[in-house]
Structure formats: C-alpha cells, structure tokens
Subunit: 401 residues, 4 copies
Amino acid sequence: MTTNGAGAAGRDAEKIWSALDSFRIEVPSWGFANTGTRFGKFIQGGAATTTEEKFADASQVNALTGASPTVALHVLWDLPGGKADVPVIQALEKKYGVKSGGINPNLFQDAEYKFGSIANPSAEIRGIALQHLLDSVEIGKALGSKDVSLWIADGSNYPGTQSVRRRIEWMQEVLGKTHAALGPDQRMLVEYKPFEPAFYHTDIADWGMALELARNAGPQAKVLVDTGHHYQGTNIEQIVAWLLQLGQLGGFHFNDRKYADDDLTLGSIDPYQLFRIFHEIVSATSEERKDIAFMIDQSHNLKGKIEAMVQSVLTAQELYAKASLIDQNKLAELQDACRLVEAEECFRTAFWQDVRPVVREWRIARGLPADPLKALAESGYVEKVTRERGSKNARSVSSYA
Amino acid sequence: MTTNGAGAAGRDAEKIWSALDSFRIEVPSWGFANTGTRFGKFIQGGAATTTEEKFADASQVNALTGASPTVALHVLWDLPGGKADVPVIQALEKKYGVKSGGINPNLFQDAEYKFGSIANPSAEIRGIALQHLLDSVEIGKALGSKDVSLWIADGSNYPGTQSVRRRIEWMQEVLGKTHAALGPDQRMLVEYKPFEPAFYHTDIADWGMALELARNAGPQAKVLVDTGHHYQGTNIEQIVAWLLQLGQLGGFHFNDRKYADDDLTLGSIDPYQLFRIFHEIVSATSEERKDIAFMIDQSHNLKGKIEAMVQSVLTAQELYAKASLIDQNKLAELQDACRLVEAEECFRTAFWQDVRPVVREWRIARGLPADPLKALAESGYVEKVTRERGSKNARSVSSYA
Amino acid sequence: MTTNGAGAAGRDAEKIWSALDSFRIEVPSWGFANTGTRFGKFIQGGAATTTEEKFADASQVNALTGASPTVALHVLWDLPGGKADVPVIQALEKKYGVKSGGINPNLFQDAEYKFGSIANPSAEIRGIALQHLLDSVEIGKALGSKDVSLWIADGSNYPGTQSVRRRIEWMQEVLGKTHAALGPDQRMLVEYKPFEPAFYHTDIADWGMALELARNAGPQAKVLVDTGHHYQGTNIEQIVAWLLQLGQLGGFHFNDRKYADDDLTLGSIDPYQLFRIFHEIVSATSEERKDIAFMIDQSHNLKGKIEAMVQSVLTAQELYAKASLIDQNKLAELQDACRLVEAEECFRTAFWQDVRPVVREWRIARGLPADPLKALAESGYVEKVTRERGSKNARSVSSYA
Amino acid sequence: MTTNGAGAAGRDAEKIWSALDSFRIEVPSWGFANTGTRFGKFIQGGAATTTEEKFADASQVNALTGASPTVALHVLWDLPGGKADVPVIQALEKKYGVKSGGINPNLFQDAEYKFGSIANPSAEIRGIALQHLLDSVEIGKALGSKDVSLWIADGSNYPGTQSVRRRIEWMQEVLGKTHAALGPDQRMLVEYKPFEPAFYHTDIADWGMALELARNAGPQAKVLVDTGHHYQGTNIEQIVAWLLQLGQLGGFHFNDRKYADDDLTLGSIDPYQLFRIFHEIVSATSEERKDIAFMIDQSHNLKGKIEAMVQSVLTAQELYAKASLIDQNKLAELQDACRLVEAEECFRTAFWQDVRPVVREWRIARGLPADPLKALAESGYVEKVTRERGSKNARSVSSYA
C-alpha cells in the first residue's frame, strides 16, 4: 500500500491521504440550475429546475468525489415557502444522502431592493430585508445548518446619488439585529465584493468593510472570502492570512476569474493562486482551521453543470493535496533566513509535484471511482436527466429582451 | 445676442454655438427598454416594450435636446421579422420624426451561438451567423442606414478549450463575405471588447484585432470604439488618435464605467476622459471628422430610461462644447515647446469653463427647452407612458432563476 | 464686495471664501528635489539639494498661494543628523516663515532593509527600524510637529519566500512600542500601499490592514490615505467615508495617477474623483474634520518642481471650493428619496461651476497674487535658483546603471 | 534509456527531450548588474559592473543550463564607445564562449530624452535618437547579431501636454529610416508597453501600435512581446496567437509580474500563463516558429543575480517541456467539437505532469549538471565573484536622494 511506502514518496502519500480524508467542499444548489450572463443564458436540457433535482445532482457529485456531502441552499429559490419548506428539505436530505449546508438569503432580486436592501434609505424596505434575514436564521436553526451566508449586493451606480455613511449605519442596525437572533451554534458570514451589480459603490466592498460590520454585529459574525470578489491584482492569500491571524475567517466561496467576477471553475485560470490560498489554510493551526467553510460558488454558463462541478471538486482536492506537501518547517527556516530562491523552490516543488496518481489510489481505497469525470460520463447520468428534465428547460432570453 | 458679444467671451460663445449646431448623437432603441444585470432587472413601468414605444421615446429625447435625430436599431428586437419589417420601421420614422440609425445584428443571444457565431467551429452555425449579417446589410440598405454595427461576443471561457487561431480564420471569412454585400454608401463597423460575456478570451478583444479584421474585410469596414470596452487604465483617447491617424475610426458607442462594461451614463464617472476624447475629434480635420458616428450605448438599470437618455445627450453636448473651446494653435505651440504646465493649463481651462449658460442661450435660440431635464419632468411624459405601458411591464427575474 | 452679493451667486461666493480661508495643504520637502523613475531622473538645475533650499522653495509656494504654511520633512534626507539637526530646522522655520509639518521616517532605503524593516525576520534589523521610529517621534516632539507619518515599504517579491503571518506579529510589536513613545499631542499615521517596491505582497497593503495595525498600536494611531495607493477601480472616497465614520482618518497624501503609484500632480488625471473625496470631507462634521492632515506627496519628474507644486495647491483649492458649493441638505433629501438623476445633478452642478473668478477675488482680498502661476513666472524665482543651484545638480543616472 | 521507454511515458520523454534540445533563451547583460526600484537599489557584492563580468556570468548560466548561449547587449552600458567597442565584445565572446544576442539601444536615460526620443517635438533630438539607432544597427551588423530590439519609453505624463498624433508621424519617420539601414539578415523588433516611465500616454502603448509602426517601417520589422507590458487581465497568449497568424511575431522579453512591469523571474507568479504562451508557440508551424527570439528581461532586486537567472532558464525549460506534451491532434478535435471540459483536461494534463525527472535525465545525458541550482551553489562561483567584485559595488542610493 502506497502510504506504507518507504522514504519521501511514502511520506508524501501519507500527507496526501490525510489531506484528502479531511477535505470537504460544499456545492451550491444554484450551480446545477440554468444561469447566464446579462446577455443571455444558454439553457442545458439536464439543468436542475427543482430543489429535488438539485439535491439529486449534488448527491451524484458527492457519490463520485466523496468530498461534497453538503449543499448550500438559496432561500428564495430552494425554500420559496420559507421555514414552511424545511420538512421538504429534510426529506430531500434523507432521500439523497446529502445535508443542507450554508443558508443564503436573497436580498438582490426583488423589486423592492432596487435601491438597496439593508442599506436602503427606506426604513420600511430595510425592515423587509431584516425579516428575510431573520427567516433565514430560523431556517438555519431548523435545518441544523451552521452558517447563514450574507452577500449584500447593495450599492449605488452614480457618484452623489447615495450617502455612503448613512448607509453604513443602516447596515449596522440590521446586521446587529440579525446577529442577535442567531442560535449558539450558528454563524453569520459577511461577504464582500468590489462591484457588480452596483457599479459606482458597493456598500460592502472589501474585506475591511466586511470585517468592521462583522465585528460590529457580534462574535458569531465572520468574514466570507469569495475568491472572485477582488480588484485585479489583489493578493487574496494575504487577506486570508490576515483573517486567520485575526480569528475572523468564516469561509470561502471558491471560483476563478480572469477579469471580473466571472464565476469560472476554481483553479481554471490561476491554479497557483488557489495553491497559495490553501497554503495559508494548511499552515494555520488545526484550531484556526477547524471552522472554515469551503464552498464552491460558480455559475457554469457553457460547461455541463454536473461535469463542471465534479471537475471543480477534483481540482480543489488536488491543489489542497499539493499544498499539504509543503515542508512547513524547512520553509519557515528558509523564509526567516531570507534565502529567497531556496524558499521559493521549497514552496513550489509541492505545486509541481504530480499528485494525481496518489489521489487515484486514495479514491480506489475509499471506494470511489478512480476517475470521477470518466465515471460520470460512463454513468449516463447527464443523458438520463436531460431526457427527464429537458422539456421543462424552455429556451430563455437575455436580460436585454 | 451672445454670439456677437465682444472679446473672449463672445468668441467662446461662437465656438460653443458652432459646436452645438454640428453635434449629433444617436440614441439606442434598447436604451428605452427594461434591462438589468445577470442578478436581475428592475422593471420600470414606463419602459418601452415595442418598437413603436422606442421610437416615441427617442422622438421625445430629440424634441428636448435637438441633438439626437436618429435611433440605433437592434435587428432581433426591433425587426424580428427581418427585412419584412422595414415598412413598419419606415412608418414609425415618419410618425415620430426620427430616422433609423445604425443597424445592430444580434449574434449573441440565440442558443446556437453558445460556442460562438462567426467564430464558431461549426461551419453550419457560421453560415447562420453570416446569413443574419447579410440580412442586416439588406435591412440597412432598405432603410437608408449608413452603418451596420457589429459587436461580436464570441470567445471562450477556459484556456485550451478553443483555438484562437482557427477562429481568426473563420471570422475573416464571414466578415469578408459580409463586406462584399455592402452597398456603396454602407459601412461595416467592427467593435471590440476585452471580456464579457466571454471570460477567458474574446475573439475581437482590442482595437488592434478589430482593425486587422476590418482591413481584411475591406475598405468600407471601420473600427467602432465603445468607451466601456477597455482594460482598466487604458488610454482611450490615444486609441482614438491612432484610428483617426490611420483613417479607420468608424464611430463610438458612448457610456461610462468605473470597473468593467458597466454601461453607465456617459461622463458620469470620468468626465475629463470624455473631454479628452472629444478633443481628439475636434482637433482632427473636418474631413477626418465628417463620418464619425456618435452613438450612445447605455443600459440604465436604476435611472429612469428617458431621463437618463436626456441627461446623457446634455452631458455629451456640454463636454463637446468645452472641447471646442481649446485654443488649438496655442496648445500646439506649447506642446511643441514642451512647456508642460502651460500646455496643460491651456488644455484644461476649457474643461473648467462653465459652458452651461451659453448652451442654455443656444437652446432658447434654437427653439429648444432651456432646461431639457426640467422640461421632461414638467411634460408629464414619463407619467403618461407609465400609465399606458405599466401593465405590460410584468415583474422580471434574475438570470439565476 | 462679492461675498456681499445678493442671491445665489453671493451665497456661493461666501461658501468659497469660507472654504478657502480654512483650507491648508502641506507640501513635501522632497517634492522640491530631483526625483525620477527607476529608468532615470532628469535633473532640474533649479531643484533643491539642501534642506535650506527646500524651505526656501516651500516658502515661495506659500507666499504665492497662502495655503501651504507647513512642509513635511523626511528624516533621512532633511535631518541626516537626527535629533541633533532640530535646531537647524528651527532656524530655517524662522528664516523662511514656514513650519515643519509631518515627520517622515525612512525605512526603505538603507541596505539593512533589503528584506524589510519592521517586518524583517531579523530581530536585530527590526530593532534598528524601531530606533529610527523612536528617533522620529523625538524629532517630532522637539519640532512641535503633530504627525509622525509611516510609510512601510516592507513586503516580498515572490510567493512562499516570506510568512505573511509572522510579519504581522513583528509589525504589531514595533508599532506598539512606537505608539508608547508618542507625546500626548502626537499622532502616528499608518499609510498603506498595494504594491511597489514590493511586488508580490506588501505588508500593509490596504486600508483594512493599516486600520488593524493602527488600532492595535493605540488610540493616537490613525490611517493615512495616499490617493495613489490603490488598485485600479478602487472607490477611494468610500474608504474615506468609512474612516471618517470610524473616527480613524488621520490624513491624506494627495497626488494623482492613471495606472500605478505615478505621483502625478493632484487632480490632473481624474479631477472628479478628488472632488468626490473632498465632498466626504466637507460633508463630515467639523469635529470629524478638524484633525485631518492634508498633504501633497508628489514626484515631478518632468514638470518644473515649484511650478508643479503651485499648480497642485491651486487645483486643490479650486476643487475644495467646488465641493463646498454642494447643497448638502438638498442632496441628502434627494438621496434618501432615491431621486437619482436629480441627486447626481445637484451633486455635480457644484463640480461644473467655474469657481476661478471668485477664487481670484479671494486671493486679491487676502493680499495674494491674483494668478499665482503667472506671478511665479514673472518673479524670476526659478531662473534665480537655477543659476544659484545649477552647478550642484550634476547629471544623474538610471537605477539600472 | 528513458527515451526508448515503451508506451506513453516513453513518448512523453521523447517529446520533452526534443523540446529541450531545441529550446534556447537569451539572457540580458543588465540582468547581472545591480538594479532596483525608484526607491533604491540593494547592492549585491557579486553583481557585475563591467561588460566582461556580465559575459562571465552569462557564460556560467549557459554552462549550468546549456540553454542560453547568447547574451543581449545594451549599447549604452555594454558598448559605451559604440561601434568602436565591437572588437572588445568579440574578444569577450571568444573568451567566454557566449555570443552577442539582441542589440538594445538606449533612448530613455540621457537628459536630452526628457520629453521623448524618436517622438520628441524637437527635430534635433529626434536626429540624435536616429543616429543612436543607426549606430546600433551598425553594431548589430558588425557583431553578426540578428535583432535590434527597440523599447521606446517615449510618452507624456499629463493630458494635453503633447500631441499624440504628431508624435506618431515623427516616430514613423525615424523608424522608417532605421529600417532602411538594416542589413538583409537583420531585424528590427518593436516593443510596446502601456505605461512607465510615461504615466499618461506611452507612444507605443500596445501591440496594435507596435504592429502599425513595424509595418510602416518595413518587412524586417516585427513586434516584440514583453510579458510584463500589459494591462491587468490582458490575454497575452491571444496577442501571441494573432501575431503568429499575421507573421509579425519577432520575439519575447520574458518575465513575470503581479501588478505592473515588476520584472520578476518568469513563471514565478502565474506559471499557467507562461505555459499557455508556450502552447501557442509549440502549436505553430515550425516555419512560423523558427525566427522567434526568446529573451529574458528581468531585474532582480532581491534575489541573487546569477541564481535568479539560472532559476529562470530552468523554469522556462520545464514549462516549454510541459507545453510540448499537449496532444495537439486530440486537443483540436475536442476544441472543434466544443467538448469543453474534455478539451481543458487534455490541455492542462500536460501542465500537471511533473516533467522534472525527465528533464533531469536529459541534463545528465547532455553533460549538464543534474541540478543546476545546486551545482551553482556548490561551485562557489557567487562567493568567488563577490570577493573579487565586492569592493567595486559601493552602496547606492534611491532615485529620491
């Protein structure tokens, strides 16, 4: 057995197995549904249109990868009836063997939120938004979900049209009340994003703003890092390091991008960056690391929905395994001696190592398909759901029409 | 009369009047319809949903500003019946007193274009795209429109998934055939855009690629500059200067943005940039300048549709008037002597000058409302169309749902 | 007298006069010396090479503008003897009638700081850096300067070569000790910068990191915003609003840029952005506003040193005067009613107003030259100092040679 | 022997050996000298200060890697006597066994070029610049160098201070005359760069402008791509593909960066990007590929000079070897069938493959050190030159002092 192998290769294999055994990454229910850009969406016959179909697809991904036993839910889309839909979800959890993960309120789509939700100048609309947040907290309690995950799209499109400062106060009030409703095991994750859909100012634009709001809300509020939500050039792993240092890192929404918030499959554009982020995680203490939520947040406009999700989980596993191979003691020594080239080579030798053969052995040993993408193709699952669901997937149009 | 005023003020007023008398900017039919972001669109009760309503709104903008006598048409949305709809459009032109402007084919929305249109690996789909382009050329001929304006959204989302080079050849073939069908007074404008909706590579990503394709197609093909279609930091006025120098500037799609292609009202984020672009225009020869098409391409998610369009035309007029005030001879002298601070002050003194009082006088003299935004508000037009159209404007949803 | 004028014009003039009477902006001693890029510096015969020459030039700028009575000092360059040089500086203050402003330690130039100063893995080098900071604090006390202004250039150039997290702890320790040495009237301003001269990670990369370090150090530590130290697209005025809201805005280093930290004259690239920043200041309470340090930090590679500095002060005055014209009550009302176009027009009508005639009247009334740039040219000052200093300004070379 | 191994591994090894046997990358003489940022340079005792020392170091890099038999020369620094220094260079070539590569004129450092060189408004200064270019062409002829490599730093720092269009004409004239002087085997490579040291407009800002100027100059002018000279987000491999398609790709200056033109060691920040660029090269025809000059252009401020250069050559070899492993036929098939995930996996499986063991075998077989970085460390070369050269490497200062 590989993990008993002698020497460096054996020790590396042990590290990889250990990393894989501990690695879990949540899939988003909306990642199985048809999505697109403002210019249109290209409908996939096999896309999920019901919550049950989303659970079925998530279950399939977990069966193939063994690494995604939970599915993030979107309140508006997956529990349109609110808390009353909890039993439905619980039945789906039981039927499909995957659990509910993060609860995602939706404060960006309804017409009342045109000028904002928790930062809207209208106290009435802020009240509606607060109620939706409180409902989401209750749903989380009922489902036994740890995290309520807040992406606040509020902002403004033109200079002078809104007061940044009054809106800070309004947000503080709503988030404080939401925090007060949390159960003892619940957390509130505050996400940030520099732009889109707001184009001049976004109320929670960067990690500094998210951190201030989280701290102001209370100790169970943490920051959520979406890897696609940064200005070009931002050193994301440094932000991760700071949040770890401050004890304020709640979790991740993983995806990749080349330009803006493109929601591409993770590691597809800059895999070295994801390796560096994972390095910050694996080099943290186990105490620091234990509550970090790893979630995928992607929108596959062109790739097959399930295929892309499986590919994402596999890529995350491989890059996490690579990061686990870094010799932390040697690296620290070289860093502190400022032996730059040697430190860099120590760091990236782990990136260059081809972990795929060991990952494959681990899969077989854990009763998983050796090649999950191939197994998916051979299973005929996508063809089957396309036949079953295709008729419901009517042709859709651009947000321009 | 102001233009007879003695001294510098009088000469400035003459320049402003002359600039305003010559300035025309086209409005887009789609700018009056409901649009949004991928996260949703906020429906406006008064938004236009029919081509007639779009003509009515464009006519209203022109009545208020005197500067927008043409309206750009979108083939798929405004002439869904293709060439057969030309008589309908002609009737609307007559009824509303505004003419058809640029003809905009749509090669990004239909399901067949999922992997591209004129750069699609499938010869069949490229054929469909070519046919749509040829139809658009015919529509342009029938309507007496000068420009067929091509925005090609083709590209790919992931490294390795498409061949950049084969796609160049495919585009060259289709664009060459399209050019061959142009009438002697027609032009083909090739737009470029670095990203969105394609997120890894866009086939026509910058002005260099657009220029190569335009030249390859033929002498009636020119480059179209959309001010929102550039990487952060790009010096757009320099590109404009190069295209003027090469005789290849076809026209503009004006809008503004802070981050990506945000389609905000022109001059709203960086008015000094638009002033600099206009400077390149007003400092060109009248021969170079005579065929440049000025078009607005904006998408107002939050601002009132007609209000935003009027505001845009006014801002364009004012910035164009400011640019016309630059003392070109003095500026050239200071530039060539490398007297930097003096040259800069000569240049921007025109920007700082408040042209609004003279523009107001010009409006009154030309029989236009002195304050078009106020006149729009007082006219009750928006309230009227909201009453008339509101029931058709059902609530819409996000491209995620 | 204009400020007694009836009606809107009179009220505006009063606002402008009041704004100008209160507006002070500090000039940097290094802004009068030869500087350049890594590719070389183009020596100016009239550039200052001694501290006395820098005081003389600063005095000249203040005489022309009436708005820059203090000059920021750079410890290494202006007080090479450290605290022992304080009497020299005091004599210069007396002789030239301008006072010392911010004290700027230098922790980026000496060979020992190759791998960092306060974040260097070597405890010995951190100790040297701390001593320099403590010396700077003592200099500040002796000169009666309020602010010690810290720009920490520390960082790393390659992934994996340094530990972000250990370096945070090292910085906290040094900054805490520095804060402990502050006198009761002193402040410590912590600047941030995303990149350059460090190219992979900069230890204090954004306002969030600067804020954490300032808070950790103590209550007299505040954040310093350099307008050129942000990623492309960052909404700087929003950061200013947050820092005001949190009571943590220490001051500004003003300059402009199109791409990176280009240190161009303020307002030269995007004047509307500076207007928006000033709007956040003028709309704050007088209590919030009273301790904000306005400083210029520019490096004029091509423009004449003194000419550029005068131009910068004038531009700052004009944009500050414009911002003071915004009708705050009306704006707040329109913002809270989400009347977007009206709010935007209310906001930017102040930007479009040509304040220069009123500023000119104010200058005359205050005994200043009506046209400071013209007065500078006519004074022959630059020619005089060029004759006197020219021989010392030997030709310099690129950092490549 | 590995290359005779059966099956996929053997075929891969053959591809790698073949790639490595053909791969050559030029090192820059200035890469061995002390350099820095505008804030200072940290002197290395072992840095080369004479042309002979640069040849000695280049020779050392080639001895260790077998892949860098030529060294790019900088006329001003390496041939300060101009053509008269050619015999000196020839003697060094003979002594150190490395040949002269690209000839790099310097038009950015001398005081006369403050406002530009070939685009300077002064005809006299343009004449000086032209003469330097003609001298460089003559040096190239005398040394048997193929390429004269032009980086033109010209531009302006402020809007309105220079005429973009007049400067285009001036550049065309000088470049045309330079082209006319080329020998039949010589080429003129035109580099582009968006900003730095010019901060508002750079006269040759992007590949489109470089291409226009190259074409205008004549058929022996080609475009040079410096990988660090692009806006954030630019798809560089697409530009490479276009230049290959147009037959206008002259060569590369390789380096990496996270933000601006940081001149970091190649592949250190985004190795996947360099792999994608190499993919465009290896998938071109051998005819298209044969004249592409691969050059390193880096400036190692912190890393050891020779160590960093060896590391760069090794990284280039490994990424080129990886790119050579892509199954081009299969990839084309999957691309044209729009099987996205499969195409991507086909593409990046080559990236994930660990080629280092095979590269090591190739090195041993070719008589090179198995581990060049280790061999460098063990050779004591750096220690030796530090002893010999250290005294000449006096402490240097910032461009601010």
